[in-house]
């Protein structure tokens, strides 16, 4: 029992008032508070951003008040087979390390600790707008670079912000390392972007090149491929690795050496031409440069091709016969995997020429082009509707793009800027500020050079869910982004079906990406253009194109709203003027044909035929080739490491896939620590001997902050796409 003394009484009485003054009054009387709001469970709807692809999968979730308690597939949503990544998003929203407040650095750049402190949104916005106004005034608007990494969702709003601010320099992860390389090759060749189409009922064969849908695509895509296999469709799968796609689907699996794509494609085309398996009429009428192509591939005999690619000559012949002899044939290419080398653009173009010479383009069961894409989108939904994004204004300013000289074909064909030469742009003073949503500096080869360059920017900020030192130690401000359950924008588009979202209130002071972009726009002095910061009003501005609004999407939340197609589904649209904006027959390329010889590449002095070019050469010192970026299921890119420990359990640390023979030669056993090194850098990882990679190739996922494989990749770039050689670096592996 405590003793009560007068002195004790006086002491306590003496601090009472001071203690009371410390109170933050965190609890208030319940009068007026919503009684029992959190007792009732209600449904909410959102999309999973666990993959990098769009459209994503639909999540129906249950909430008590603003707290998400559980999730399930969204009935009625076209893709809703929730995998562990969707469940992982539950760990992300309530992760104890999530950033919940705007944070500002207090120590100079270059300090080992940036000394971040919490600030209010008002202070953050004042600082951003102050710097933007000052920099625009002093150096011009184009020195402010706007960037969207992952998720892709804010692209639409951020492009509008860049355009309104007056900077043409907007880039994203697609225009750095992902989709835009292959897309550029596709537009150069066909006049439009396509990674192929799912096998249809008329499809008899499929060419799958460099992609593994069960690990990297929505579950539905894989189901479609399995169904096709059951129907008897023949599959040629090209992948240096033994993937489930290869082992389950392939009638013929070709495992080429990395960066020999154009040679292998030339070898296949050599057989198709030689054996008369090509569509002569289509080639003659619709391929520009068909004679040059025929002439070029003559040298690629199966034997010669085997020498270059390591693929046995017989397999090349068999693959050509299987695909060209079983028409119509479909195609499925990687959105980016075949463009991670120094011949990226033409490697990918070479693949695209195979179905073209077979006459499979836009025929039923072939490489189909949708007749009725949703009007006003102008491509993939993730890029944003051109009108809302103010693409015309951006186009009018394109002479100010920082990438014009480095990558002229890329710059001509894309609205987003190639960022790989950001180091030089900053050093030359052409970029003074960098505003990023979802930036990960590990995306760049020789990451440390970009980190260093960022230190000399006059201002930089990044919106993110977590503090990631390899990126945020080099910027001035980190803003807390709302996660998928807390975002209203963007709504989802699946073909001609639209779905809204019904989010919960963000935790802490997080804000959704769109809201941040809109509020910056408002504070820059454009309240009307940025809808007074109202995200739903911004969405409605887009939705009005289709005669609907967000309220209508909410009303039909589960089954979505269908925008009826305007034309009956047709094929060979190039014959009837349905592919070109001018309504004339032909493909939307400069020649009006599929371009084996690209007029745009020719104009820019780049290699116009899809020629093979030997890239980085292996040597005695570096005898193996590095394939970075292959995935285990359910980890995508640099996502899903510490953010979602459930997923990290699938692979808690970086592992190097190495063929058992290559491992044995080096005395390496499973679990051994090894040094993986190239001429440009080295990392330490654990070895995983496996037959999933072929001899001579080693594979590793990217995105491990303690073993950033991009430190091994040089800052050399394909002249067409601007992509670095993520998948062709000569390396050595040594037991540590």
């Amino acid at each position: 029992m405590p003793k009560v003394t007068r002195r004790a009484f006086m002491k306590v009485a003496g601090v009472g008032a001071a203690a009371l003054a410390l109170s933050d009054r965190l609890l208030v009387s319940r009068a007026g508070a919503q009684a029992g709001a959190q007792d009732k469970e209600e449904a909410g709807y959102t999309i999973c951003d666990g993959c990098n692809g769009v459209p994503f999968c639909g999540i129906k979730f249950y909430r008590r008040g603003d707290i998400v308690t559980r999730i399930e597939p969204w009935p009625g949503f076209p893709t809703a087979t929730l995998c562990s990544k969707a469940y992982g998003t539950l760990q992300r929203i309530y992760h104890p390390q999530r950033i919940k407040y705007p944070m500002k650095r207090t120590k100079p750049k270059g300090s080992p600790d940036p000394g971040y402190v919490r600030i209010s949104w008002d202070e953050a916005y004042d600082m951003i707008v102050g710097h933007l106004m000052r920099i625009r005034e002093k150096y011009g608007p184009h020195t402010v670079f706007f960037y969207v990494g992952d998720p892709k969702e804010p692209r639409t709003a951020v492009q509008r912000l860049a355009a309104t601010f007056g900077s043409v320099n907007y880039g994203d992860e697609s225009s750095t390392a992902c989709r835009k390389g292959a897309n550029t090759a596709e537009v150069l060749t066909y006049g439009y972007g396509t990674t192929g189409s799912p096998p249809g009922k008329d499809t008899r064969s499929m060419l799958i090149w460099g992609t593994n849908p069960p690990y990297s695509g929505p579950a539905n895509d894989w189901q479609e491929l399995l169904k096709a296999k059951e129907r008897g469709v023949k599959f040629v799968v090209v992948d240096p690795r033994n993937t489930p796609t290869a082992t389950i689907l392939a009638d013929i699996h070709l495992q080429p050496r990395l960066n020999t794509t154009a040679a292998l494609a030339a070898g296949v085309m050599h057989v198709i031409f030689k054996e008369g398996l090509y569509d002569e009429a289509f080639c003659a009428k619709w391929i520009h440069g068909i004679d040059e192509l025929k002439e070029y591939v003559k040298a690629f005999t199966p034997e010669k091709t085997e020498e270059i690619t390591w693929v046995p000559a017989k397999k090349i012949v068999d693959a050509a016969r299987l695909y060209a002899g079983n028409g119509p044939g479909g195609m499925k290419t990687s959105p980016q995997g075949t463009t991670h080398d120094l011949n990226a653009g033409n490697n990918h173009r070479a693949i695209l020429m195979i179905p073209a010479i077979c006459g499979y383009i836009d025929v039923a069961g072939g490489v189909e082009d949708p007749t009725n894409p949703l009007e006003g989108l102008g491509g993939n939904w993730s890029n944003g509707p051109p009108v809302f994004c103010m693409r015309k204004k951006m186009n009018d300013m394109r002479e100010h793009r920082v990438d014009n000289k480095d990558f002229p074909a890329f710059a001509e064909l894309n609205f987003d800027v190639q960022t790989n030469r950001m180091v030089e742009y900053i050093k030359e003073g052409r970029v003074k500020a960098f505003l990023a949503w979802g930036l990960n500096m590990m995306i760049w080869p020789q990451t440390q050079e970009y980190q260093k360059a960022f230190e000399s920017l006059e201002f930089s900020m990044a919106v993110d869910f977590f503090y990631r030192p390899w990126t945020h130690n080099y910027v001035d401000m980190v803003l807390p982004g709302a996660v998928n359950y807390e975002r209203l924008a963007p709504f989802a588009v699946h073909g001609r079906k639209l779905f809204g979202r019904m989010p919960v209130k963000p935790v802490g002071e997080c804000k959704e990406d769109w809201q941040i972009a809109l509020e910056i726009g408002v504070r820059l002095g454009h309240p009307e253009i940025f809808f007074n910061g109202n995200v739903e009003a911004a969405c409605d501005d887009i939705l009005k194109m289709w005669g609907v609004n967000y309220a209508a999407l909410r009303k039909d939340i589960e089954k979505g709203v269908v925008i009826p197609p305007k034309k009956p589904n047709t094929y060979r649209k190039y014959e009837v003027g349905m592919m070109r904006q001018d309504g004339k027959p032909g493909f939307p390329t400069p020649s009006g044909k599929v371009e084996a010889v690209s007029l745009i590449l020719k104009k820019h002095g780049l290699t116009a035929l899809p020629e093979y070019k030997e890239g980085l050469k292996t040597s005695q010192e570096y005898p193996l080739i590095l394939l970075s970026g292959g995935r285990v299921p359910y980890i995508t890119h640099s996502k899903w490491r510490d953010d979602a420990p459930w997923l990290l359990e699938l692979q808690p640390q970086p592992l190097l896939d190495i063929h058992p023979d290559d491992a044995a030669k080096r005395g390496i056993k499973k679990g051994d620590e090894v040094v993986l090194k190239s001429q440009w850098g080295e990392i330490r990882v654990k070895a995983k001997p496996t037959i999933l990679v072929r001899h001579g190739i080693v594979g590793i996922m990217h995105g491990w902050s303690k073993a950033n494989v991009n430190q091994l990749v040089p800052r050399q770039f394909d002249p067409i796409t601007g992509y670095p050689p993520f998948k062709e670096v000569p390396v050595q592996v040594i037991k540590a």
Partner: protein
């Protein structure tokens, strides 16, 4: 025999322990609610010194954590006088961000759910439980505070409020005072003693010697003894207010064994 519901001269124990405990909870709540400012530092210095003196004067058992806190605070405040105050406040804001706001090498969460749920996540069942407790006493978390209900500052704030309500009730109605003490004991046993020791330990390990390590020790030491203080107050009220007949009032006791009781 006293009139039912009025204080007796010996309720003086409650008169001391009541404000003592309220002040402790207010001090600890503010220590973790947000970053320090000058007013807060002045208050913490004054209140912590007074409370630690009172601790000794009341003959409460010496506690190694309270002692450690005392030494750390003494050093902190004496150094503070020799340094630029704004600089110290900025450094404390950095420390707060680094320790609690997700921008440091190791984040120590300030929320009970992280320590009490199998998933180790925020916004788990602890939150709904404490929300229920607040609700039962007519309280709810202020919308102005953007942290969850089971944030340490809110939980400690709730205890401070219960202490205040007890004090008011001691004067007005004994039954209600005992009920508030019962609620405090339940909240301590259902929540605070179940996670504060682990939280404090993690904070002590993660923080350099200085303000937050001192507050972690003080929190740990105080939560370790507060159950006893609740018991003392309960006993005192029971002794002074024996029921007139057997049908009288409910016996006030804890629903659970006091395994977390610090000895």
């Amino acid at each position: 025999m006293t009139r039912k519901g009025t204080a007796t001269p010996s309720d003086i124990l409650c008169d001391v322990l009541g404000p003592f405990r309220t002040s402790f909870y207010l001090l600890l709540s503010r220590a973790f609610s947000r970053e320090p400012n000058q007013k807060m530092l002045n208050g913490v210095e004054h209140v912590s010194a007074g409370l630690m003196d009172a601790w000794e004067l009341m003959g409460l058992p010496s506690d190694p954590d309270v002692e450690a806190s005392k030494a750390l605070l003494k050093t902190f405040f004496s150094e503070l006088r020799q340094r630029d105050l704004d600089g110290v406040i900025e450094q404390l804001a950095r420390d707060y961000a680094s320790l609690f706001l997700g921008v440091g090498p190791k984040t120590v969460s300030l929320c009970e759910s992280v320590y009490r749920s199998a998933s180790g996540l925020l916004y788990q069942s602890s939150l709904f439980e404490v929300q229920q407790s607040y609700s039962e006493t007519g309280m709810t978390k202020s919308d102005q505070y953007h942290e969850p209900e089971d944030h340490i500052a809110v939980e400690l704030s709730y205890m401070a409020r219960l202490c205040e309500l007890t004090q008011e009730a001691v004067k007005a109605g004994r039954e209600q005072a005992l009920n508030y003490l019962r609620l405090q004991r339940l909240f301590l046993e259902d929540h605070l003693v179940r996670w504060i020791p682990l939280f404090s330990q993690q904070l002590i390990a993660a923080s350099p010697p200085g303000f937050y390590r001192a507050m972690a020790h003080l929190l740990k030491g105080y939560i370790g003894i507060d159950n006893r203080l609740v018991d003392s107050m309960t006993q005192e009220l029971n002794l002074n207010h024996k029921p007139r007949t057997g049908k009288g009032r409910k016996k006030v006791s804890s629903k659970r064994p006091t395994t977390h009781y610090k000895t």
